[in-house]
């Protein structure tokens, strides 16, 4: 009986680590389909990581210990985050350690370390990227917190598994406030994970970079870990979105059986596939915003989330 939660927990973490790069590859594939190009293999991210691990790390002379430790911290916090997001089951032993707000804190930790490491070496582009990242993060965090807040209003708890549970077990109803916050969440996702329209993940023009600029100084295993962490971040965000807005298919509190657990795997895969297509679509039809317009973009997200809150308070839905 008590094996299932631990099994769920382990599966979730392993799935996150294993599947995250595949998710990235899938999005690239979808984008290529939409743009009538032929994409590289969806296993390319794995080969890239593998290649990087076999290279020799080169560090700048001025690099401090922070620079060397940051990738491990970032990767570790992403894995911790994956542990408390209910992507497959809602009864997670680690979920008692942190609720959604702490989750946001974990993501913030990762962001802070990446930025500090980028500034550590003292290059111009690193600092540029770090400052932009902090600006985006500073504006995105309130929006994300507001989204979680509205979702928690419906289930009276800020622990992500409980929110999922509440939504999954209730009879189906239209929640306009959740609709608003879902849109807000998508906007935050795009901003935080450096996707178009906020940042182009495939760019090589340093002046337009936000996230990539911070990784310019890294090499070999450090770079591999950072790239993996970025992929994990996207995976985590996608799973947070599923947990908040489409939690059906997850092994709920009542149904803690092996059957439910193994049934949730293909459902998660299907959700990820759909999310990948959706993201690729958004990226194809949007143009990248100029950097000074990014605050407007995030202000819209925040406003939508607050609107969702107000609508919830008024209509009680």
């Amino acid at each position: 009986m008590s094996v299932i939660p631990w099994l769920t927990q382990a599966l979730e973490v392993l799935a996150a680590i294993a599947v995250a790069p595949l998710f990235g590859g899938w999005i690239v594939q979808c984008r290529a389909w939409l743009q009538n190009k032929s994409a590289p293999s969806i296993w390319l991210p794995y080969r890239a990581i593998h290649k990087l691990f076999h290279k020799e790390a080169v560090l700048a002379e001025r690099a401090s210990p922070l620079f060397r430790f940051a990738p491990y911290v970032v990767f570790g916090s992403m894995v911790c985050a994956a542990a408390i997001i209910p992507s497959m089951g809602t009864r997670l032993p680690f979920s008692g350690a942190a609720d959604a707000i702490a989750l946001v804190g974990l993501l913030a930790t990762a962001r802070v370390f990446v930025s500090l490491a980028a500034m550590d070496v003292g290059t111009a582009f690193g600092t540029l990227g770090a400052r932009r990242e902090m600006m985006v993060g500073f504006l995105a965090e309130p929006a994300l917190l507001m989204v979680i807040f509205v979702a928690s209003l419906i289930s009276s708890s800020t622990a992500l598994p409980e929110i999922s549970d509440a939504l999954a077990t209730q009879p189906f109803a239209l929640y306009p406030s959740l609709a608003f916050t879902a849109v807000a969440f998508v906007l935050v996702l795009l901003a935080e994970n450096a996707r178009i329209p906020v940042d182009n993940p495939a760019t090589h023009l340093e002046l337009t970079m936000i996230h990539e600029a911070m990784l310019l100084e890294y090499s070999a295993r450090h770079l591999a870990l950072m790239e993996w962490a970025a992929a994990l971040k996207l995976f985590n965000y996608a799973c947070i979105g599923f947990a908040l807005f489409v939690p059906w298919g997850v092994a709920t509190e009542q149904a803690q059986t092996p059957a439910a657990l193994f049934a949730s795997l293909p459902i998660l895969a299907a959700k990820l596939a759909a999310a990948g297509v959706g993201l690729a679509l958004i990226e194809t039809v949007s143009a990248k915003l100029r950097v000074f317009r990014a605050p407007e973009f995030l202000a819209t997200a925040f406003l939508l989330a607050v609107l969702g809150l107000l609508v919830n308070l008024l209509l009680r839905a």
Binding site: Q170, A173, A179, L307, L310, L314, A317
Partner: protein, 222 residues
């Protein structure tokens, strides 16, 4: 929450969408897009009236929905688009305060109107009484749209959006006004728009533009 019957849930969703549209109008700068948003608002109003008619079985609501459809979704947007084409006013200039500040102000306005509508909603006996706050919010947001614009056409669209909000309020508080009043109001709106059409041509003839900057010269010293 989820104990509401399904059609009431849809009505709530329509109301929320109505509010979202009012916000979208606040941020929109293309005049053609404003008119499309207005038409969409009218369509929402029509859908809500139909749902309410189906729920309460009152015949005059069906007629009212038809009137809304004919006037607010078909005729008025067509008239406005024709005016836009003939006058060539496709863009609005930058609003008086920047977009983000306008949106934040709009948010404050929404909070204020929700508070204002509480006592009314408490007294109402209709099933949709919660949406009264949204109606008041839309009216005030439309008012905000009007005062932050410089082009005459955007101000007119804001004015029509205000009327939409008032109608939604009437519907959610009292299941619509008596038929004769609704007909009268519709007639008034129609005539107002026709008058406006003539007016815009006169303004354009005189000033060669529909920027309201030109209409600010009458001061007290005259």
């Amino acid at each position: 929450m989820s104990e509401l019957p399904f059609d009431l849930q849809i009505l709530n969703a329509l109301a929320a969408l109505f509010l979202l549209l009012a916000f979208a109008m606040l941020a929109q700068r293309r005049v053609v897009a404003l008119v499309s948003l207005l038409a969409f608002q009218g369509a929402l109003l029509c859908a809500a009236t139909l749902l309410l008619a189906h729920r309460t079985g009152q015949w005059h609501l069906y007629f009212s929905a038809l009137l809304t459809l004919a006037l607010k979704v078909v005729f008025l947007p067509w008239l406005l688009r024709r005016l836009i084409r003939r006058l060539g006013v496709y863009w609005d200039s930058e609003p008086l305060i920047n977009t983000t500040a306008t949106m934040l102000l709009g948010l404050l306005v929404v909070i204020f109107s929700f508070g204002l509508a509480q006592p009314i909603a408490a007294l109402a006996s209709t099933a949709t009484r919660n949406a009264i706050g949204i109606a008041v919010a839309v009216v005030l947001l439309a008012f905000l749209t009007m005062i932050t614009r410089r082009k005459a056409m955007s101000q007119v669209v804001g004015f029509l959006s205000m009327e939409n909000g008032l109608f939604f309020g009437a519907m959610s508080a009292t299941y619509g006004m008596p038929m004769i009043v609704e007909l009268g109001v519709a007639l008034d709106v129609l005539v107002a728009m026709l008058v406006l059409g003539v007016f815009f041509f006169q303004i354009r003839e005189q000033f060669d533009s529909l920027d309201l900057h030109h209409l600010e010269s009458l001061k007290e010293e005259q």
